[in-house]
Symmetry: C2
Subunit: 463 residues, 2 copies
């Protein structure tokens, strides 16, 4: 281990083999550059990961795709991973104030008056989100005032009813892995704007949950990594340091050293500070690394002999104010050969549930499923959960949840190259940030920056 | 470098040679334990650091002490570092809304009506802070409601005038290195409670700025380190990993390995995640490491032939709504042999100013001093500034500035031992957290935990 090979000279090192880093590497390689990817974990994928349980394929991280998520769709098609529609037939369920009810659509049927109020808040959020230009939150009118508030304080100021507040708290937990009081309103609005509106963000049919992948999302990452070629992706090699001298960066891992013309860092914002960079990052970049924490969002999967809820005319989609899973989906394979329920556990519920031992987590998750779908749900033939906070080289998810006051001063810094370093990762996207689509877009944007910089350098060299 | 000595077996490894780690090590050693301290930087002191410029001693980090800060006072006296009163004779200055005025006391004379409003907000904050038990913010009535708000949103809800808001924004910048909108109200109240009230926190005479140290604060750290003995403090040795197996922790640095019965981690909360720990920290501890960022607070010092402002009946103490320094003090040596002005630059002003090149920072800082104290202030015989965000192994200061929603879920986790690991650092204190006194208290508390744990283990061994 201590006898390293001499440093390898390459065009670009990409740090992080998540979808964003892999998309960057693919784009760079197609442009004719010599690219190597280093990954801290012992697998590729980052925030996409898969497992097989009791005959079912499970997406433990990024799962769904929907309309306008063109880049992840294009990439998946290029590597031949197929999609199918999320099951939406039948009624959705809600468990609310101790009662179970059935409803249709995205917003639960909490009674006509409550529904009007939820609609009012949704319209107001949507309208306000249209004032935030995707990729340029600092250009929003009143950006400072919007960043000074949390999503929660904004809802209180707009006199959301308790039911409305709870509905949007559930959306906040499942979307950002946090409570509304933890999140900058400017970030929430910008995120909605980058998704094209709340309907697109939250809906299943015609929204971000419309389809999932036959072979699973991890297969996209695996195939992109394979296409990069033998010896291009180095696993279990965390970037320890990046030393920039003139126009060369020395990138060190426990076992490898590279001399690169450019570096793309494609790790979650909150993991950036793990890499020692010289000359040191500017003050805003240092402060940013401490200020955009990962959300707290976990997933619980139960696999059954059949999707039994369909027999009762139910879609498998549900909302619960009790949890631990606050939102569920039918994540069965296309042929329905087994039944798969997926529950999202986020924010305060996840903080409680994540710390429990595995059998207790399982008991509580299945208890929540049974409250929604009946006693049968207590007896799956397989169960698996994924707590993203405990995933060593990810440490949270699905995306950053910046607090009030932490967006406006740092949003530009998020994507600003630092000498030879360019930034990828879904947080740096200007469309569908927080999603797999944003990850791919951000990787492709960072690659384009590098290609432009390297071409300019080559032209200068020739003069 | 790659040929390490075999792991050394010790009782305790302390990570971090700031005041907190050193106080812990001193207490442990006095209890008869075999203690080693590893420090990432090439100096001891952490958030206390000193420099000599043009014949003046400058405290670049922690500087002042005041009444009830008994532990730092006791420690400084034990190692023979002396104190003297901060100069407070004459009028204080303010530069407000484009005009310069003189006033007495802590709250600037912004006119009688404005003063009444500022007094009203101060009383309300003080009263509310008394509902938060020091060291147990989770026991405050309405803790969740308090944590859901920012200091800024609370001031707006209480209809603070623009002047009042700005006064407390300046206090926020100088105290926590952040804007009021970034800070959890619960944290602000708890911090005030841990200091014993706003007067104690903000005042010079009879408050936390009452005295400073003749030989400087860094000398306290240096002497404590020296007293630990030859070979006890290992500089330039960042903790890379802590692997806990049974009742032994293996602590690794680039050049050293220790096998310890217990480990005290005495680094800022936001630096905790740089250390790889196995078994991994619990989910809340991981999330906490991403959620308590360091403040952004810098200092600018100008050294003059004499403290010339005293000739005009001025104390050197000032408040400015223009900045970059929002608060200044006379930090001259006791004999007044040279004149030293100290300016605090925090929050939004620091974010702007920290990124400037050194000559521009100097120009702007001196311009601010000149607006307050006249043209003479433009021509010091020496100048030095310290941007704590750029200090590699500190990365911010003076203390953590947790956002809304990030205190209640994580305050217990902050000090909860994780198997063989105990936590020190001023953020973990229950009195004067954020100050040198809190650092010492936290170190002594962590040491007491270790001593108790180790004695229990010894008793168990004998049975």
């Amino acid at each position: 281990m201590n006898t390293k090979a001499p440093a390898k000279t390459v065009d670009v090192v990409v740090v992080g083999a998540g979808l964003s880093g892999l998309a960057a590497a693919r784009t760079l390689q197609k442009a004719g550059l010599d690219v190597h990817v280093i990954e801290a974990a012992d697998r590729v994928g980052g925030r996409v990961r898969s497992a097989n349980v009791a005959g079912a394929h499970l997406d433990l991280g990024g799962t769904f795709v929907g309309p306008t998520q063109d880049r992840i769709i294009a990439l998946s098609e290029e590597v031949g991973v197929k999609r199918f529609a999320t099951y939406v037939e039948g009624g959705n369920l809600m468990h609310w104030g101790g009662t179970r009810r059935s409803y249709r659509g995205t917003i639960p049927s909490i009674g006509p008056i409550a529904l009007v109020d939820a609609g009012r808040i949704q319209s107001a959020l949507d309208k306000l989100s249209r004032s935030v230009p995707p990729g340029r939150p600092w250009d929003a009118p009143n950006a400072q005032e919007l960043d000074a508030q949390s999503l929660g304080s904004w809802m209180r100021a707009h006199r959301a009813t308790a039911s409305t507040y709870e509905i949007f708290a559930i959306a906040s937990r499942a979307t950002w892995g946090c409570e509304p009081d933890e999140l900058s309103l400017l970030h929430a609005l910008h995120y909605i704007a980058m998704a094209g509106g709340l309907d697109l963000l939250l809906d299943t049919k015609n929204g971000a949950q419309e389809e999932h992948f036959v072979e699973g999302t991890h297969e996209i990452a695996a195939r992109v990594a394979a296409e990069l070629g033998e010896g291009r992706v180095h696993l279990s090699q965390p970037a320890l340091s990046i030393d920039q001298t003139g126009d060369v960066a020395l990138v060190r891992t426990p076992d490898l050293e590279f001399l690169a013309r450019r570096v793309v860092i494609a790790v979650p914002v909150w993991m950036r500070q793990r890499i020692k960079v010289t000359p040191s990052l500017g003050p805003d970049a240092v402060a940013l690394g401490q200020r955009w924490p990962g959300g707290v969002l976990s997933k619980a999967y139960a696999v059954y002999d059949r999707p039994f809820w369909r027999d009762f005319g139910l879609s498998g989609q549900a909302v619960s104010d009790r949890g631990p899973a606050v939102i569920t989906f039918d994540a069965s394979p296309e042929d329905g050969s087994v039944g798969v329920l997926l529950g999202f556990i986020g924010g305060k519920q996840a903080r409680m549930w994540d710390s429990l031992p595995e059998d207790e987590r399982r008991l509580r998750a299945l208890n929540g499923f049974a409250e929604l779908f009946g006693e049968q749900a207590r007896h799956p033939r397989g169960y698996l959960d994924q707590r993203w906070v405990t995933e060593e080289w990810v440490g949270g998810g699905p995306c950053a949840a910046p607090a009030p006051g932490h967006v406006l001063p740092y949003a530009k810094t998020l994507i600003e190259p630092q000498h030879l370093i360019h930034w990828a990762g879904t947080e740096t996207a200007d469309q569908w940030s927080g999603f797999m689509d944003g990850a791919v877009r951000a990787g492709e944007r960072a690659a384009a920056e590098v290609i432009a910089a390297v071409s300019n350098a080559s032209i200068t060299d020739k003069n």
